[in-house]
C-alpha cells in the first residue's frame, strides 16, 4: 500500500465541507469564525500537498501557506476585536440580533 496524493486530499475536502456547513448553519459569530478557520486550514493543506507531491524542490506552495497563516492570524485578531466591541454594545453575539449598523 502506498500513500498517494489523493489520500492527503480527502481529509482536506472533508474539512472544507465541515467548514461550509458550520458557516451556513451556526448563529453565533465566534462559531462562524471557527468554521472560517477550518476552511482556511484545509486550503493550506491543499497548497502544501500539491507543492510537495507535484513540484518537489520548489517551495512556492510552502511560502504561500506561510504568508496565508500570517494573514489568517491578523484577520482573526481584527474580527474578534469587532465581535467583542459588538458584544459590548448590545450584549449579544447572535447574528439574528445584529440588524443595525449604528448603535
Amino acid at each position: 500500500m502506498n500513500l498517494t496524493l489523493l489520500m492527503y486530499l480527502i481529509p482536506s475536502i472533508i474539512m472544507f465541507g465541515c467548514g461550509v456547513y458550520g458557516f451556513l448553519t451556526r448563529k453565533n459569530m465566534i462559531a462562524i469564525m471557527i468554521s472560517l478557520e477550518l476552511m482556511l486550514n484545509s486550503v493550506d493543506i491543499n497548497f502544501v500537498v500539491f507543492n510537495r507531491f507535484l513540484f518537489p524542490g520548489q517551495f512556492e506552495g510552502m511560502f504561500f501557506t506561510l504568508f496565508a497563516i500570517a494573514i489568517a492570524a491578523a484577520e482573526t485578531a481584527l474580527a474578534l476585536a469587532i465581535i467583542i466591541n459588538v458584544f459590548r454594545a448590545i450584549k449579544n453575539v447572535d447574528i439574528n440580533q445584529i440588524n443595525k449598523l449604528k448603535f
Binding site: M1, M15, G17, C18, E37, A72, L78, R88
Partner: protein, 171 residues
C-alpha cells in the same frame, strides 16, 4: 513502498482530522468547538511534519495552535456564560448547510477523480529544505526571493495592530 509506521501514522492523522472537524461544527457548546479546532490544527501540523516541512509544522503550532486558539478562548470567555448551550439549529437551515457542503465536496471529488492524472503520485525522497536555505529565500530579492511579500505582511500586521487598538478601545 512506504514503511508500515508511516502508513499507520497517516491513518491516525487522517481519522483525527475528519472526526475532530465534524465535531467542531456539530457540538453545541462553543468552548468545546474551540477545543476540537485546536485538535484539528495539531493534526494538520502533524501532516506537515510527515511531509518533511518541519518549519511549516512549527509555524502552524506556534501561530495557529498557540495564538489563534488562545484568542478564540479569550473571546468566548469574554462573551459567554461558561457551559451555556448555543441556540439550536433550525431544521431547514441544517439541511441547506448539509446540501451545500455535500454538493461542494462532490464537485471537488468528481474533478479530482476525472481530471487528476496526478492523483497516484507518491512522496519523493527528502525535500532538501534546510532552515538556512529557507531564510535565504525569505530575505532575497532575486528570482525565487520573497522579500516583497515578507515586507507587505509586516505592514499588514502593523495595520492590524493599529486597527485592533482603535476598534477595541473604549469610547
Amino acid at each position: 513502498m512506504e514503511s508500515v509506521g508511516n502508513i499507520i501514522m497517516y491513518f491516525i492523522i487522517a481519522i483525527a482530522i475528519i472526526a475532530f472537524s465534524v465535531l467542531t461544527v456539530t457540538t453545541r457548546k462553543i468552548l468545546r468547538s474551540a477545543t476540537y479546532l485546536l485538535f484539528v490544527l495539531f493534526a494538520t501540523a502533524a501532516l506537515y511534519f510527515q511531509m518533511d516541512y518541519h518549519f511549516l509544522g512549527a509555524v502552524q503550532i506556534a501561530v495557529y495552535a498557540g495564538g489563534i486558539v488562545v484568542l478564540f478562548v479569550f473571546a468566548i470567555l469574554l462573551t459567554h456564560k461558561p457551559g451555556a448551550d448555543t441556540q439550536a439549529i433550525t431544521s431547514h437551515r441544517k439541511w441547506l448547510g448539509v446540501a451545500v457542503a455535500m454538493i461542494g465536496a462532490l464537485v471537488c471529488g468528481y474533478a479530482l477523480f476525472s481530471y487528476g492524472g496526478f492523483c497516484g503520485k507518491q512522496l519523493i525522497g527528502d525535500d532538501g529544505l534546510s532552515i538556512d536555505r529557507l531564510g535565504q529565500m525569505l530575505l532575497s530579492t532575486d528570482k525565487f526571493g520573497y522579500l516583497l511579500p515578507f515586507e507587505a505582511v509586516s505592514v499588514l500586521l502593523l495595520a492590524c495592530i493599529i486597527g485592533g487598538v482603535v476598534i477595541a478601545r473604549r469610547r
